[in-house]
């Protein structure tokens, strides 16, 4: 994170979620749309979250090799 660089709006967390900064509409697998409601939101990438499309930390329960 250099001082001059523009900080990213989307951050892919190794083995974890995708972070989205700002307001977005996220479409889930079933086509339903969800409006982000935090300064930064975490979108599930492992597919196991119980609060999809948002991350609920469940990726930690998956063996490391099988994480996104």
């Amino acid at each position: 994170m250099g001082g001059d660089a523009i900080s990213p709006d989307v951050i892919v967390c190794p083995g974890g979620p995708l972070l989205l900064r700002g307001d977005h509409v996220v479409q889930d697998e079933d086509g339903a749309e969800h409006l982000t409601r935090r300064p930064v939101s975490a979108v599930c990438r492992c597919g196991r979250s119980s609060t999809k499309p948002w991350c609920d930390g469940t990726h930690k329960a998956i063996p490391e090799k099988l994480r996104p």
């Binding site: 951050i11 979620p17 930064v40 609060t51 930690k60």
Partner: protein, 332 residues
């Protein structure tokens, strides 16, 4: 000096737990000067850890929203500050003696996040939330909520003191997380307020410090540690490490707490606090580790040990509280 009139939500002076707190609380309430520094130093050395801890908690409280019976100007009374430093030194020595040192990895901001999550995952300790999930009685959960209230009613406040002390990237990153913690500008969504609403809904007192007299040593140490880290600029690394470890151990346990409360039929408002933290802290743990702590280490790599020290302190103190409660409930 005139004591400030009692303001709603302000803590009251706790019950003394030994000769040190007895003298200090009397001096604060009766608007007397504290005893001479040498007498206080001897009293700190001679008395039990719990007496020291309740005294320090009360002196820290003067820096938050104040104590009803104590004049606001006592916060910066040189004798009060002197005693606070003495007690903080004693606490910091104890916390540092419990820290095994940072885990073996290359170091620096690049490998930090993966090493941090791995370390938190590998930490072994008893878990209160697992017990609440499947076995705890409603009375046990209410007792836990009373003890948690000391911390959650000032949730995010201790680390807020770190904000102006951080380099640019970490400062912006911490504010991004804090904005969410403080309800994004909506007081009814302030996390401390969600907890207060939950307490009231389950029939408990949402006043700050209402249950301080019930708090055992591990609870006092948990609260004193975050105030120590927040109030001392030199410990900003520990403050951020503590925050990251706290957030990284929150999502799963919050889900178990919410499900345990549902099992017991406890009020929805209290469950809502924990449900909110399942999702919020899945974001916050990533931010705390990847943008806040890693941001700090990019600019101030010399603080790396303190980040790990703060993280360990968070995990260790929670583990001590869990051991205390599970033992008390015959569940260990």
């Amino acid at each position: 000096m005139t004591a400030a009139p009692h303001r709603r939500g302000q803590a009251r002076l706790p019950k003394p737990r030994g000769p040190l707190s007895e003298r200090v609380f009397a001096a604060l309430a009766e608007e007397h000067d504290l005893p001479e520094p040498s007498i206080l130093a001897a009293a700190v050395e001679d008395t039990a850890a719990e007496d020291r801890a309740i005294t320090l908690w009360t002196l820290h409280e003067l820096c938050y929203r104040g104590v009803a019976e104590v004049g606001d100007e006592r916060e910066w009374d040189p004798a009060v500050v002197g005693l606070r430093r003495e007690l903080e030194r004693d606490l910091e020595d104890r916390l540092r003696s419990r820290w095994p040192g940072r885990p073996g990895y290359a170091g620096g901001p690049d490998g930090f996040a993966e090493a941090f999550f791995a370390e938190v995952e590998a930490f072994e300790g008893p878990s209160v939330s697992r017990f609440v999930h499947t076995d705890a009685s409603a009375d046990q959960v209410l007792e836990l909520l009373q003890l948690r209230s000391i911390y959650h009613l000032k949730e995010s406040d201790p680390v807020a003191w770190a904000v102006p002390r951080l380099p640019g990237a970490a400062r912006a990153a911490l504010m991004e997380l804090q904005y969410d913690e403080y309800g994004g500008g909506r007081p009814e969504r302030l996390h401390a307020q969600l907890f207060a609403d939950g307490l009231a809904a389950v029939g408990l007192d949402p006043t700050e410090g209402a249950y301080i007299d019930q708090a055992p040593l591990p609870v006092l140490e948990q609260n004193n540690a975050v105030s120590l880290f927040g109030l001392n600029r030199r410990l900003r690394g520990a403050a951020l490490g503590h925050l990251a470890a706290f957030e990284a151990t929150s999502s799963g346990p919050s889900r178990r707490m919410a499900q345990g409360m549902e099992r017991l039929g406890l009020a929805e408002e209290m469950r809502h606090y924990y449900e909110e933290h399942v999702e919020a802290d899945a974001v916050h743990e990533q931010l705390a580790v990847r943008t806040i702590c890693a941001g700090l280490l990019s600019a101030e790599p010399e603080l790396e040990d303190d980040v790990w020290f703060g993280a360990h302190t968070c995990l260790d103190l929670e583990s001590r509280l869990a051991a205390y409660l599970l033992d008390r409930w015959g569940a260990s």
